[in-house]
Protein backbone atom coordinates (compact mmCIF):
# COMPACT_ATOMS: atom_id res chain seq x y z
CA UNK A 1 0.00 0.00 0.00
CA UNK A 2 1.41 3.37 -0.94
CA UNK A 3 0.72 6.61 0.85
CA UNK A 4 0.07 9.95 -0.81
CA UNK A 5 3.18 12.07 -1.30
CA UNK A 6 3.65 14.75 1.31
CA UNK A 7 2.47 18.02 -0.14
CA UNK A 8 1.75 16.29 -3.40
CA UNK A 9 -0.91 18.74 -4.59
CA UNK A 10 1.47 21.29 -5.97
CA UNK A 11 3.98 18.83 -7.37
CA UNK A 12 1.35 17.19 -9.61
CA UNK A 13 -0.65 20.00 -11.24
CA UNK A 14 -4.31 19.09 -11.52
CA UNK A 15 -6.19 19.80 -14.75
CA UNK A 16 -8.12 23.06 -14.61
CA UNK A 17 -11.46 21.34 -15.25
CA UNK A 18 -11.02 19.14 -12.15
CA UNK A 19 -10.56 22.06 -9.79
CA UNK A 20 -13.37 23.13 -7.49
CA UNK A 21 -15.50 26.27 -7.95
CA UNK A 22 -13.88 29.63 -7.22
CA UNK A 23 -16.66 30.45 -4.75
CA UNK A 24 -17.05 27.80 -2.08
CA UNK A 25 -20.69 26.61 -1.60
CA UNK A 26 -20.08 27.16 2.11
CA UNK A 27 -19.54 30.83 1.29
CA UNK A 28 -23.11 31.08 -0.03
CA UNK A 29 -24.36 29.52 3.23
CA UNK A 30 -22.25 32.03 5.18
CA UNK A 31 -23.62 35.00 3.21
CA UNK A 32 -27.22 33.85 3.77
CA UNK A 33 -26.44 33.37 7.46
CA UNK A 34 -24.90 36.83 7.73
CA UNK A 35 -27.89 38.43 5.99
CA UNK A 36 -30.27 36.65 8.38
CA UNK A 37 -28.16 37.72 11.37
CA UNK A 38 -28.08 41.35 10.16
CA UNK A 39 -31.88 41.39 9.71
CA UNK A 40 -32.44 39.89 13.15
CA UNK A 41 -29.99 42.31 14.82
CA UNK A 42 -31.35 45.42 13.14
CA UNK A 43 -35.10 44.75 13.18
CA UNK A 44 -35.84 42.06 15.78
CA UNK A 45 -33.41 42.64 18.64
CA UNK A 46 -34.27 45.07 21.45
CA UNK A 47 -32.13 48.12 22.14
CA UNK A 48 -30.10 47.85 25.32
CA UNK A 49 -31.38 50.20 28.06
CA UNK A 50 -28.08 51.83 29.12
CA UNK A 51 -25.87 51.86 26.01
CA UNK A 52 -28.56 52.40 23.42
CA UNK A 53 -28.29 51.24 19.82
CA UNK A 54 -24.47 51.24 19.85
CA UNK A 55 -24.60 48.04 21.93
CA UNK A 56 -25.65 46.21 18.74
CA UNK A 57 -22.04 46.55 17.56
CA UNK A 58 -21.33 43.79 20.08
CA UNK A 59 -23.05 41.25 17.79
CA UNK A 60 -20.53 41.78 14.98
CA UNK A 61 -17.51 42.76 17.10
CA UNK A 62 -17.29 39.69 19.35
CA UNK A 63 -18.00 37.04 16.64
CA UNK A 64 -15.32 38.73 14.50
CA UNK A 65 -12.89 38.39 17.40
CA UNK A 66 -13.80 34.74 17.90
CA UNK A 67 -13.36 34.06 14.16
CA UNK A 68 -9.93 35.70 14.32
CA UNK A 69 -9.03 33.49 17.29
CA UNK A 70 -10.24 30.38 15.41
CA UNK A 71 -8.16 31.35 12.36
CA UNK A 72 -5.01 32.05 14.34
CA UNK A 73 -5.44 28.84 16.33
CA UNK A 74 -5.55 26.99 12.99
CA UNK A 75 -2.34 28.83 12.02
CA UNK A 76 -0.64 27.59 15.20
CA UNK A 77 -1.92 24.01 14.92
CA UNK A 78 -0.97 23.73 11.24
CA UNK A 79 2.41 25.30 11.98
CA UNK A 80 3.04 22.60 14.59
CA UNK A 81 1.95 19.95 12.06
CA UNK A 82 4.32 21.44 9.48
CA UNK A 83 7.27 21.52 11.86
CA UNK A 84 6.49 17.94 12.87
CA UNK A 85 5.71 16.31 9.50
CA UNK A 86 7.04 18.80 6.94
CA UNK A 87 3.73 18.57 5.06
CA UNK A 88 3.39 21.59 2.78
CA UNK A 89 -0.41 21.32 2.84
CA UNK A 90 -0.26 22.23 6.54
CA UNK A 91 1.90 25.24 5.68
CA UNK A 92 -0.56 26.31 2.97
CA UNK A 93 -3.49 25.96 5.36
CA UNK A 94 -1.62 27.99 7.98
CA UNK A 95 -0.97 30.71 5.39
CA UNK A 96 -4.65 30.73 4.37
CA UNK A 97 -5.89 30.93 7.95
CA UNK A 98 -3.36 33.67 8.72
CA UNK A 99 -4.65 35.90 5.93
CA UNK A 100 -8.29 35.34 6.90
CA UNK A 101 -7.40 35.89 10.57
CA UNK A 102 -5.90 39.26 9.68
CA UNK A 103 -9.13 40.30 7.94
CA UNK A 104 -11.21 39.38 11.00
CA UNK A 105 -8.73 41.07 13.35
CA UNK A 106 -9.06 44.20 11.21
CA UNK A 107 -12.82 43.91 11.66
CA UNK A 108 -12.38 43.70 15.43
CA UNK A 109 -10.04 46.69 15.59
CA UNK A 110 -12.36 48.90 13.53
CA UNK A 111 -15.76 47.96 14.95
CA UNK A 112 -14.40 48.28 18.51
CA UNK A 113 -13.66 52.02 18.24
CA UNK A 114 -17.10 52.58 16.68
CA UNK A 115 -18.56 51.20 19.91
CA UNK A 116 -16.01 52.95 22.15
CA UNK A 117 -16.66 56.47 20.84
CA UNK A 118 -20.30 56.77 22.02
CA UNK A 119 -19.78 54.65 25.16
CA UNK A 120 -16.32 55.70 26.41
CA UNK A 121 -16.19 59.06 24.65
CA UNK A 122 -12.98 58.17 22.84
CA UNK A 123 -12.12 56.11 19.77
CA UNK A 124 -9.12 54.44 21.34
CA UNK A 125 -7.41 53.99 24.69
CA UNK A 126 -4.20 52.10 25.49
CA UNK A 127 -6.14 49.57 27.51
CA UNK A 128 -4.54 46.12 28.00
CA UNK A 129 -7.01 44.24 25.79
CA UNK A 130 -6.99 46.81 23.01
CA UNK A 131 -3.21 47.08 23.02
CA UNK A 132 -2.71 43.30 23.04
CA UNK A 133 -5.19 42.91 20.17
CA UNK A 134 -3.35 45.59 18.19
CA UNK A 135 -0.09 43.75 18.95
CA UNK A 136 -1.64 40.52 17.63
CA UNK A 137 -2.67 42.39 14.46
CA UNK A 138 0.95 43.51 13.95
CA UNK A 139 2.22 39.97 14.62
CA UNK A 140 -0.22 38.53 12.07
CA UNK A 141 0.74 41.21 9.54
CA UNK A 142 4.38 40.39 10.25
CA UNK A 143 3.62 36.71 9.68
CA UNK A 144 2.26 37.45 6.20
CA UNK A 145 5.04 39.94 5.38
CA UNK A 146 7.62 37.34 6.43
CA UNK A 147 6.03 34.81 4.11
CA UNK A 148 6.29 37.26 1.23
CA UNK A 149 9.91 38.12 2.00
CA UNK A 150 11.49 34.64 1.85
CA UNK A 151 11.86 32.92 -1.52
CA UNK A 152 12.98 29.51 -0.31
CA UNK A 153 9.82 27.51 0.35
CA UNK A 154 11.11 25.32 3.18
CA UNK A 155 12.77 28.21 4.99
CA UNK A 156 9.66 30.40 4.57
CA UNK A 157 7.43 27.67 5.96
CA UNK A 158 9.74 26.96 8.92
CA UNK A 159 10.30 30.59 9.98
CA UNK A 160 6.66 31.58 9.56
CA UNK A 161 5.53 28.47 11.48
CA UNK A 162 7.54 29.62 14.50
CA UNK A 163 6.03 33.12 14.28
CA UNK A 164 2.53 31.68 13.80
CA UNK A 165 2.85 29.60 16.96
CA UNK A 166 4.18 32.54 18.97
CA UNK A 167 1.33 34.78 17.78
CA UNK A 168 -1.29 32.28 18.91
CA UNK A 169 0.21 32.20 22.41
CA UNK A 170 -1.14 35.74 22.77
CA UNK A 171 -4.79 34.67 22.33
CA UNK A 172 -5.43 33.36 25.88
CA UNK A 173 -3.69 36.44 27.31
CA UNK A 174 -6.00 38.69 25.28
CA UNK A 175 -9.06 36.82 26.53
CA UNK A 176 -7.86 36.87 30.16
CA UNK A 177 -6.48 40.44 30.02
CA UNK A 178 -9.71 41.85 31.47
CA UNK A 179 -9.15 39.69 34.58
CA UNK A 180 -5.37 40.20 34.78
CA UNK A 181 -5.32 43.99 34.38
CA UNK A 182 -7.43 46.90 35.50
CA UNK A 183 -9.04 47.64 32.14
CA UNK A 184 -11.81 49.74 30.65
CA UNK A 185 -12.87 46.91 28.33
CA UNK A 186 -16.06 45.15 29.45
CA UNK A 187 -15.82 41.71 31.05
CA UNK A 188 -16.93 38.70 28.99
CA UNK A 189 -20.73 38.46 28.82
CA UNK A 190 -21.02 35.09 27.06
CA UNK A 191 -17.60 33.36 27.18
CA UNK A 192 -17.24 33.00 30.94
CA UNK A 193 -17.59 30.21 33.51
CA UNK A 194 -21.11 31.35 34.56
CA UNK A 195 -24.10 31.30 32.25
CA UNK A 196 -24.32 34.24 29.78
CA UNK A 197 -25.58 37.45 31.41
CA UNK A 198 -27.69 38.49 28.43
CA UNK A 199 -31.43 38.30 27.73
CA UNK A 200 -32.49 35.43 25.48
CA UNK A 201 -33.48 37.74 22.59
CA UNK A 202 -29.99 39.21 22.50
CA UNK A 203 -28.29 35.87 23.10
CA UNK A 204 -30.02 34.31 20.08
CA UNK A 205 -28.87 37.23 17.91
CA UNK A 206 -25.33 36.86 19.21
CA UNK A 207 -25.29 33.10 18.59
CA UNK A 208 -26.69 33.65 15.08
CA UNK A 209 -23.89 36.08 14.28
CA UNK A 210 -21.35 33.76 15.87
CA UNK A 211 -22.50 30.82 13.72
CA UNK A 212 -22.58 32.92 10.53
CA UNK A 213 -19.15 34.44 11.21
CA UNK A 214 -17.64 31.02 11.95
CA UNK A 215 -19.04 29.55 8.71
CA UNK A 216 -17.80 32.63 6.82
CA UNK A 217 -14.36 32.21 8.38
CA UNK A 218 -14.16 28.52 7.37
CA UNK A 219 -15.47 29.29 3.86
CA UNK A 220 -12.88 32.04 3.34
CA UNK A 221 -10.07 29.78 4.58
CA UNK A 222 -11.21 27.05 2.17
CA UNK A 223 -11.34 29.54 -0.73
CA UNK A 224 -7.92 30.94 0.19
CA UNK A 225 -6.48 27.42 0.46
CA UNK A 226 -7.84 26.52 -2.99
CA UNK A 227 -6.25 29.68 -4.37
CA UNK A 228 -2.97 28.61 -2.73
CA UNK A 229 -3.14 25.19 -4.41
CA UNK A 230 -3.64 26.84 -7.84
CA UNK A 231 -0.88 29.37 -7.20
CA UNK A 232 1.59 26.66 -6.17
CA UNK A 233 0.65 24.54 -9.20
CA UNK A 234 1.28 27.56 -11.43
CA UNK A 235 4.63 28.14 -9.76
CA UNK A 236 5.54 24.51 -10.37
CA UNK A 237 4.64 24.82 -14.06
CA UNK A 238 6.31 28.16 -14.59
CA UNK A 239 9.41 27.14 -12.71
CA UNK A 240 9.15 29.28 -9.63
CA UNK A 241 7.62 32.39 -11.16
CA UNK A 242 5.49 34.20 -8.56
CA UNK A 243 1.80 34.16 -9.41
CA UNK A 244 0.58 36.99 -7.20
Amino acid sequence: MTSAPIGGESSVPMSASRRGPLFDPLFIVAVLGMVAAYVRAIFFTPIEALQGAAQKIYYIHVPSALSAYISLTIVALMSIVYLWLGDERADRLAESAGEVGLVFLSGVLTTGPLWAKPIWGTWWTWDARLTLTLFLWFLTTGYLVLRGAIDDRAMRARYSAVLGILAAVLIPFIHLSVYLFNTLHPMPIVLKPDKPSMPNDMLVTFLGFFAACTVLCIALIRMRYRYGVDRDALRAIEGGVEAD
Binding site: L22, F23, A54, V103, I119
Partner: protein, 54 residues
Amino acid sequence: MMFQPSGPPDTSAYYHAAYVWAAVLYGGYAVLLWVRARRVRERLRASQDAPVSS
Protein backbone atom coordinates in the same frame (compact mmCIF):
# COMPACT_ATOMS: atom_id res chain seq x y z
CA MET B 1 -37.47 72.75 36.47
CA MET B 2 -38.29 69.08 36.67
CA PHE B 3 -35.86 66.46 35.42
CA GLN B 4 -37.34 64.71 32.44
CA PRO B 5 -36.14 61.11 32.29
CA SER B 6 -35.23 60.12 28.76
CA GLY B 7 -33.82 57.05 27.09
CA PRO B 8 -30.21 56.59 26.06
CA PRO B 9 -28.88 58.99 23.41
CA ASP B 10 -29.38 57.95 19.81
CA THR B 11 -26.20 56.10 18.85
CA SER B 12 -27.66 54.15 15.96
CA ALA B 13 -25.33 55.87 13.44
CA TYR B 14 -22.36 54.11 15.06
CA TYR B 15 -23.84 50.66 14.79
CA HIS B 16 -25.04 51.29 11.24
CA ALA B 17 -21.50 52.37 10.36
CA ALA B 18 -20.06 49.25 12.04
CA TYR B 19 -22.45 46.90 10.22
CA VAL B 20 -21.83 48.52 6.82
CA TRP B 21 -18.08 48.55 7.40
CA ALA B 22 -18.03 44.85 8.40
CA ALA B 23 -20.01 43.94 5.27
CA VAL B 24 -17.63 45.98 3.09
CA LEU B 25 -14.53 44.49 4.74
CA TYR B 26 -15.56 40.82 4.63
CA GLY B 27 -17.36 41.11 1.28
CA GLY B 28 -14.46 43.05 -0.20
CA TYR B 29 -11.98 40.41 0.92
CA ALA B 30 -14.12 37.64 -0.60
CA VAL B 31 -14.31 39.52 -3.93
CA LEU B 32 -10.56 40.21 -3.86
CA LEU B 33 -9.91 36.53 -3.21
CA TRP B 34 -12.19 35.57 -6.09
CA VAL B 35 -10.36 37.97 -8.46
CA ARG B 36 -6.96 36.60 -7.42
CA ALA B 37 -8.16 32.99 -7.75
CA ARG B 38 -9.68 33.61 -11.17
CA ARG B 39 -6.51 35.30 -12.43
CA VAL B 40 -4.29 32.45 -11.25
CA ARG B 41 -6.66 29.85 -12.67
CA GLU B 42 -6.69 31.56 -16.08
CA ARG B 43 -2.89 31.59 -16.11
CA LEU B 44 -2.84 27.98 -15.00
CA ARG B 45 -5.25 26.99 -17.76
CA ALA B 46 -3.19 28.90 -20.33
CA SER B 47 -0.01 27.16 -19.12
CA GLN B 48 -1.59 23.72 -19.29
CA ASP B 49 -3.11 24.35 -22.73
CA ALA B 50 0.14 25.68 -24.18
CA PRO B 51 1.82 23.24 -26.62
CA VAL B 52 4.88 21.49 -25.23
CA SER B 53 7.98 22.35 -27.23
CA SER B 54 10.50 19.55 -27.65
